[in-house]
Each structure stands twice: as structure tokens, then as C-alpha cells.
Symmetry: C4
Subunit: 328 residues, 4 copies
């Protein structure tokens, strides 16, 4: 520990510190200020590349196996099953495939396949027994393999349950947001639906606008503005929900032109939180509209009508239906 | 991107925007204003029909398998088991049922049933081995089927656990709510019990009244009013709980007649939240009383008495016990 | 719907309604006012008897299987296993035990045990195959039993996981609470420890005093008072924690004698909430001290000392160590 | 119950009580005041030794099996498997190993290994059947063992799933914290990254400084001070995050020298809370920097640069990169 004169930490009242504490920051930091690229991808991930992580942290196996789609997942299970059986078949052959007794004549498909099928019957614990280990070595390998089989199976059970029980919300966002007239002003709007039939409750939406701004000294900084919404929370979410940011004179969008949005690399960052009614789990979704995903002078067409039966019909396909309209 | 003159977003101070922000909305929206039908069904689902969803979202398989009753669930498992075995029996027959070796004479029930029983012994990984695959083709099918068996079983394990561990509260609502005298005024009341013996804590109830109202211009709108409760939260819920909305001069029910409630299609929407003590899970319940499920001038009879032993007895069958009473 | 003149709900400003809204109630209700018995048992359950519930709700199978101790649980599993095998053994005998082929002579222990062991080998999917079904009937029963076996096993897996993952906190309360001197006044105190070695964080304690009071008109009511604590929340809970309610002139205990507590059937109700650090689950505990579980003029002895190594030693056995002391 | 004159609990207004209620305490208590040792270890556990706990509470089996690393865990499973098979092998030998029929000549590895392999085939429910129980005694043992096998397997499934689904955050803290210039003052800083690729949201950090202080009467007490942060919460955490406590004149670090920190045994206690985006689970982390883990006059080097592609590159290996700098 060095003892320079400056190491007495003389605190001081600082205006700059207080200003910095007020600055809104979602966590992207100021250093991203000089980058013209979207912050949040359409799937909700961040547009940032991470390097030099450790292998296991990068792989992040469990999360990946939980979040990949069903077809690749089942494919992986099958591939793993084939490789495991192939591996053990080779091990049994090294230990002497003739030490796998057969109650029937199976010589016609050769020792590898005999060992392979024996392995599959051991790994899955089917164990017909028409092929069975007779030597000490093949017996001990089989004992080990059956234990591995149980473990693998326990793993797959856990993964399947994890995949199923993972909190998820199939919320669909309209492909584009719009600038439309709203009451006696204009508003920026987008629309969401709950694509699934089970309920979400206490749905909460926050919108932050990010844009590049030039300071007096000519340096560029990415600034963040919270956009007020007509309604930021609903208790129930049975139909569609149009989120509305009215452009009053307090709005940071007040006075903007399409060119402004493009030049300042404007991006609307959306954070949605909801409660899944079946499992009482909180679900989060991220989404973003960039300046080129905004329609000027369009409004959303209604998505539902009351049928003859008196019951309201919601047509999920009309999510992206818009029509041109003149702005106020 | 078009550049009409109106695309400069001139913000303006707007009274209408502020009014709209104040309007109470549970998430049903204003468009439901012209429908005379209940909003929330007795089972807590919403009275809205959704069309044109994608197949998987409509099916919503996991949620459905988790929430259907036990008998249909077990029936589905049995049907799936029979179909799977039937399917594989046919596949084995195509591959040559004579390639399933038998250590005993089972010809008397024919090749299909031999293949069917072999399939069931493979799928469940019992694998007695008195029937066993001898050809390459039947062996590879059996290897695949046993893997499918493990996966299906993993799935059923996950489903069973999901069914069991799903947060649920068997809260029973009295069949009808009542208008009864309360202290020196009248009140709208309903009563709930915890039907199960395990505890719920921090039970919170919110009641919203929905009714159709006619504006000055003759258009009809569905409006929502929060009803204040004598007590909206209890820490413990060991006995019954009578929820009371006192009709003071601040109540939106002030001055109503039975005819008023019927004409305005009045519905009392109830949202209950509680904490399951065993699993520390939050549970939600929705319920609703429509205008024709309200008894005027009735009061609830007590549900418990202190026995000789000094311990309080709660009689769960008396939930719906009411008697006539004169209103204040 | 009857239309008496009184059915116009004239709301009125009511003082009584406002008073009732202020009254503290944990959820036990006013009706329990005339019972002299403890409200919360030592295990945290409520001292209330519930009758006439439906069979399944009373049984509450899953919760019971999750919360019973390990020995009865494993005993139940064993009994279920024996009964299931006994049942299927009888079914196989009805279908003809001679249709269970044997590759070895097992006649010496008779057809019932042959069927019983075959059943056990089917239910657990071991399926050695030295006993195997040969008739159509025994084959179909075995196919069904092996499916039942998988389901039962899935169930047990779910139950075991449920038992393990259930949020639980082994918090031990001192057997008695004490009245001891505290700073320049007296205080009511009790002491808790975390009996397990894994951490609890954000531990929050609330204490409510319940006592019977006689109104001016001679009727008895059970009233509830919140007791202020020196510290009601700690972030970490690595050692013991002595909860202290200082008896200042604002305390409802101000001026009480031991006789007062006994006569008014005083009970201290404790609600504890904590966060389990391993699973990030919220845990709740209820506890209660009745008037006869309070020591007057005793104080707790310290539970820890700093060893030579500089590391603090906490002796969990000293939880109930008290010594006499004169009150202020 | 004794009735000394002092047992009338005369409450009194007390300044000392009010002061005590104001004192900040994380839950370590005042008694730790005279110990010079770190409070929180680098792995987040507390530096406290607990003795005389009950065996099961000390063992805390489930938590330990959930939290140990993968290699020891799999090792334990293997050891348990070998011991269980060894145990049952001995039991079968006591019941007569000749009562395990063999369809092939396996005498060459003796009765123990025959019983051992039979046991392994029973425990895993493989059940080839080339070894099978023939006597009543061996049959009943095998029936019991196969049930135990299913239970053990259910247990391992639960443990594996518990290990996987346990909320965890691989947050890495910089090895040392620094005193660096910050705006027009100095600041104490440390830096964290999310080592895994899946997202954490709503990350919240609290820092408490603990130091030994000498009272007027010469006694030593450990006091706790909350340190204000430039930003204590971020919504997203995609890159690195430097936590900054600016040393203004309000900071408890105001005027400190390195010698002061060492003498007062200063420790910076950090509590981090975040929401895992995949499972919506809350995660907690504890960390601490002691006075000798602080670099004076060093600052962190940036961890990321914008590549040619416009996408930001975050280099996780640069977490501990600092360079010397002169303090303000």
C-alpha cells in the first residue's frame, strides 16, 4: 500500500456527482454512445458480442437446452443416444463381444451391432436378456452403463420438465408501431396480443426511447427518455392492447420529423412484465422498434367484433392491420 | 417513409389526454361497451372467443394437460399408451413379426398381439425377454422405441409433478352475494372459505363493479368502479371471511334499485390473491357475481360455534346459509 | 327478486363504518371473542376444527404427502407397493397363474407368490423374464400393470422432489419468552436461531398481541395489538437474534401484571418471513407464546464467544439459556 | 410465576430506546464488535462457526447435494451405487447365492460377483434375467431392492433437476476495488460482469461499510454505514457495470487514509440481487472487499470497444485490468 500525499480522501460537495446520479441509464452505459446499431434485437437479446468467457459459461448448457426449439432438442437427444450406444458398443467389443451371451442366433448382423443393441437395451434398462453379459468385464461395464442410463434419463426428465415449466408468454407485438391521431393530438402506438389461450394478469409495460444526441462540444452521446403511456398496466389481458404514448408538449417526441428519428438513430425499447395465471410466475419480454419500423400516419384497425351470440370475437390475425389516416 | 406536412409532431397540452389517463380500465377496453353479456365466467375465464390463433398456441398443450381434471388426464395417458403400442405393433409386423423370437409358444394369439405385447414391454422398459428382437430391423426399432418410452415417461413424470405442484387454492365463494344491513347502513356482501385444510396467508381481495352507462350523446359505455371494502386483506384465513362493501354516500351503489342493476347489466368482478403456505406460491382467483346473483335483504348465517371443548368448530357446509332480513 | 320499499340503497355517511375499517384484525374475526383457548398451536397451525369439508379437500393428499415426516412417508410407499403387488397377484391368479410361464421350477412357493413376484418385477419394470406372461389375458394385465408402475414411479419422483424442494426454514424459537430489563426500561423478548447451516436473508418478524377485553356493556371481545420491535428486519441472519419489544409508555403492555396477562388470556402471535438463500424462496413461520410461556425477570445468556482463532463460535444448544435478573 | 413488586411493567418514555431503534444493523449484532476478522468470506458465506446443531441440521443433506460441484456429486452417486450393490450382494449371499439361477455358466467369477451383478441389474431395473431369483427369500429381497432402486432413482432425478434449476448467477466481481478519481472528486469503485450469456435484469446492489470504532469510554464497537452509489439499480445488465461510491463530504469515507482503513478493520459488504431472465427467479449474491483488497490511485480500463461491424465487443478477460492514476 503506497502513501502518496493525495491519499487522504478529502470529500467535497460536487454538482457533477449529483447530475450524474440523475442521468437515466438502463444499464447500457455511456460508452455505447458512438455506435449506430440497434440495442435490442427482435428476439429480445442484446446486440452485444461477448468474448473470452470461460467455456462452460459461454456454453451455458442448461439454459441452451431449455431454450432451444423442440425439434433440435429431440434431435440432440437422439444423436446423444446413438453416440452413447456406439461408444459402449466399441467398449464391449474391446472387452470381447463373445462375452455377450446370446439365447438366439444373432450372428448374422455381426458383433458390433450385437454390442450396440445390447448397449441400447442396457442404457434404457429394457434388458430383454436375450443378449446378456457373461464375463466379469462385460458385466461391470453393463453395471456402469445401466447406472449412466438412469442418470441420463434423470437428466432428460429434468430437462423436459424445465422446458415445460419455464415461465413463458407468447405475446405478439405488431410488426410496426405507428404515429396516429389520438383524441385531439397525435400519438405513437403499438399493439400486443396474448397469442396463447391461458391468461396473463397484471401486465405492465415500460417504454424507453433511446437516441443519439450531440453535445455542445460536438461529442455524441446516447440518451434515454422514459415515454409516458396512456395506461401502463392492466389487470386482465383477454383481448388486444394498444399501447399509446400521447405526444403532448411534454413528450420528448414533440416536434420530431421522420428525418430526426433516422438521424438520431432513435430506438423504442419496450420492457413488458406479466404474471402467468396458471403457474403464478412472473414473465418478462423485451422488444424494440427502431426508427425504420414506424409507420407515419397509419392507425390500427379494430381486431374484434361482437358476434350474433353476444360473445366478443377476437381475430388474432388482424394484429398488423393498419390503414392510412391523416395526422392531427 | 412519406413526408406529408403534418409529419412534424407538434405536441400540445391536451385535457382529453389527461382525462383518458384517469379512466379506470381493467383491460377489457372500451370496445366491449355495447355487449350485454357477462365478462368473467364462473370458472374465472373470460367470456371472449379467440379465432385464427396458430394451432400450437390454440392447443396450448402443456397448460391443458396441467389443468384438465384427473380422470380425463389418466384416460388420455391410457389412450396414448394403447395407440403407441398399436402403432409399434404394426411397425414390427411390417418389419416381420417372425423376427420377434419367442421362448414360449405364443402363436395362439397371433402375430399382432405378440408384437403389441412386445411393444408394451419395450415402451415401459419392462423387457421380460420372453419375446425379443432377432433381426437387425426389429432390433433397431426396439432400440428406438425404448428411447421413446423413456422420453414419454419423462414427460409424464413432468406432467404429474406439474399438476401437483401447480399453485392452487380451493377457495369457495358463496353462490350468491347479498344486500344486508350492516352497522347503521346497508352493505353488499359475499362470503368465502378455504375449502382445503392447508393454510393461505396474506389474502387480498379487490372488487370492481362494471356497468353499462349512457352518455349525454346517447352512446353506451361500460364503466368500471372500484368498490371499497371494510377489510381488503387478512394475514390469516383460518375460518370464513365475509367481504363487506358498505353502501355509504360515497359508494357507486348509493341509491340503486334492483331494476337499476339489471338495466345497467351490473357485474361485480372479484380478484383474489393469496399466498399458499406450503409452497410459498402466490395464487390468483377470479370470480364474478352478476346482477341476478344478488339476494336483496338477506344476511349470511354464522358458520361456526365454539364446541364444549373450547375449540372453534367451522362448518364448511353452511357457506350458502342465508336468512331474510329487513334492510336499513 | 322482491321489490320492498327499502330496496333503494340510500347510502349514508357512517361513523361506525369508519371505525370498523380502522379495527385491527388478523383474520380470526370478532366471533372468536368468547373463546379462552390458544389461537395458534406450537407447530404454527390454527386451533380451529373444520367439519363437513369434501373428502378430497379434507384429505388434501398431496400436501399431506409432502409435509409428513420421512419415516411415515417411506412406510406409506412400502405399504402401497405391497398392497399393489398383492392386488395384482390376485388378479393374475384369477386370470390363471399357470399362464405365467417359468423358466425355472418355482412351484415350491406356490402360485400366489409366483404371481406376487411377477407383479413386483412388472411394477418396477425390472422384468427379469424368468417368469413371463403367456396367455392373452395375463399379457394384457401385465401391459397395464407396467404402465401403472411407470405412473406410480413418476408420482413418487414428483413427491420426493416436492418434499425436497419445499421451501422450509428450520428456525428455532426459544421455548419461553421473557420480561427482562432493557436499556433504562423493561422489555418483552424472545430469541430465534437458524438451526440449519444454509443462509436465510431478509428476515422479517411481526408480533401481534391478542387479548380478551371487556367492553363497557360487559361483552367480551378479543382485541389485537401490533407490538413495535427494536428491529423488525435483518438483512443477514448468521447468528442468533433476540427480538425486543421495549415497554415504553406507548406499549399496550404498559402497566400489566402477570395476573392481567392470565386473566385476559394474552397470546403473543408471531409471524416470521424470510428468504431462503439457496432457492430464493420465501418462507413463512408462525409461532405463539401464551401468557404462561413467559418468564418474568429472566434474561437470555449470550450464545456465542469469540474463540482463540478470532472466528465467532455460536453454540446452538444455548438457545434456551436464561438467568434471573431484577426488572427495572 | 413469582409476584415481585417490580413486576408491574411501568412503561416509560426512553431516549435510549429510540436511539437503539435508529442504529443500523445488518444482523451481525453488536457482540461481534471485538473481533478483528472478516465478516463475509469471498464465497459469500459468513465467517462464523456454529456448534452443537443437530446432526441432520448440520448435515443439511439436500442443500449440500444441490450446491456441491458436479465432479464430487457424480462421484458420490457412483460410490453410493457401488456400496448399495455391495451391500445387497452380501444380503443375497446370506440368503444363499445358489438361489440366484443362472442361464449361463458364470461360476468363474464366484458367488459374490454373481450376486453383485444381479443386484446392479435389479437396482437399475435392467433385469436381463440371465441371473434370476429362484427361492422365496431371494425373490422378496429382489422385490424390495427393485423398489429401493426406483426410489433412489427418483431421488437422483430430483437432485439433478434441483441442481439445474437452482437460481444462480455467475456474476464475477473484480478481484480488487479501487480508489480512483471520479468527475471532480474521488470515488471507491468495483466492477462486475455477468459471466454467463443469459440475461439478468433489474440488478440491484447495496453496499454497507463495516468498521470498528472506539467509543468515548474506550470500548470498541463495530459500526455499519450504508454507502450511497452513483446508480444502485440497472434494468439491463448486458455489459460490465462499474459501481461507484463518490466520496463527497457526506461520505463516511471522507478524510480516510489507508492507515485508517487498516486500523478500523474496514470491510465493504456487498449484497446483490438480480432477476434471472430465463426462469424469472430472484438471485442473491454476497461479496466483500476488506481494507487490504483496495487499490489506491488505480482506475479500471474499459472492457469493450466497438468492432468494425458496429456491434459492441465485450472482453470478459479484462475485468481486473487497472492502471495507475493520480487521485483528485
Amino acid at each position: 500500500m503506497n502513501t502518496l500525499p493525495k491519499q487522504n480522501l478529502q470529500g467535497r460537495n460536487s454538482q457533477l456527482v449529483e447530475q450524474e446520479e440523475q442521468r437515466r441509464d438502463l444499464g447500457f452505459g455511456t460508452k455505447l454512445g458512438d455506435t449506430y446499431s440497434r440495442l435490442i434485437n427482435k428476439d429480445g437479446s442484446f446486440n452485444i458480442f461477448r468474448k473470452n468467457g470461460t467455456f462452460w459459461d459461454q456454453l451455458n448448457l442448461y439454459n441452451r437446452l431449455i431454450t432451444i426449439k423442440w425439434l433440435p432438442f429431440l434431435g440432440l437427444v437422439l444423436v446423444f443416444y446413438l453416440i452413447a450406444n456406439g461408444f459402449f458398443a466399441v467398449v464391449y467389443m474391446l472387452a470381447g463381444a463373445e462375452n455377450l451371451q446370446s439365447t438366439s442366433d444373432q450372428s448374422f448382423y455381426g458383433p458390433f451391432w450385437k454390442a450396440f443393441f445390447f448397449s441400447s437395451q442396457t442404457l434404457t434398462t429394457v434388458g430383454y436378456g436375450h443378449i446378456a453379459p457373461t464375463s466379469f468385464l462385460t458385466s461391470i461395464i453393463a453395471a456402469f452403463e445401466s447406472m449412466m442410463g438412469l442418470l441420463s434419463f434423470a437428466l432428460v426428465t429434468g430437462l423436459l420438465y424445465g422446458r415445460f415449466s419455464r415461465p413463458s408468454a407468447h405475446i405478439k407485438f405488431s410488426q410496426r408501431s405507428v404515429f396516429a391521431p389520438y383524441l385531439d393530438v397525435n400519438a405513437w402506438m403499438f399493439r400486443i396480443i396474448n397469442a396463447r389461450s391461458h391468461q396473463l394478469i397484471d401486465v405492465l409495460v415500460e417504454v424507453t426511447m433511446s437516441r443519439m444526441e450531440t453535445k455542445a462540444d460536438g461529442t455524441k452521446h446516447r440518451n434515454y427518455y422514459s415515454l409516458s403511456l396512456e395506461r401502463k398496466k392492466v389487470t386482465f389481458f383477454p383481448t388486444n392492447w394498444t399501447l399509446v404514448h400521447a405526444i403532448t408538449n411534454k413528450s420528448p417526441l414533440h416536434g420530431c420529423t421522420p428525418e430526426d428519428l433516422a438521424e438520431s438513430d432513435t430506438e423504442f425499447l419496450i420492457l413488458l412484465q406479466a404474471m402467468d395465471d396458471t403457474f403464478s410466475q412472473v414473465v418478462h419480454r423485451r422488444y424494440s422498434y427502431r426508427y425504420d419500423e414506424v409507420l407515419w400516419g397509419h392507425k390500427f384497425r379494430p381486431m374484434f367484433d361482437s358476434g350474433q351470440s353476444g360473445i366478443v370475437n377476437l381475430d388474432l390475425e388482424k394484429l398488423d392491420d393498419t390503414e392510412e389516416v391523416e395526422l392531427n
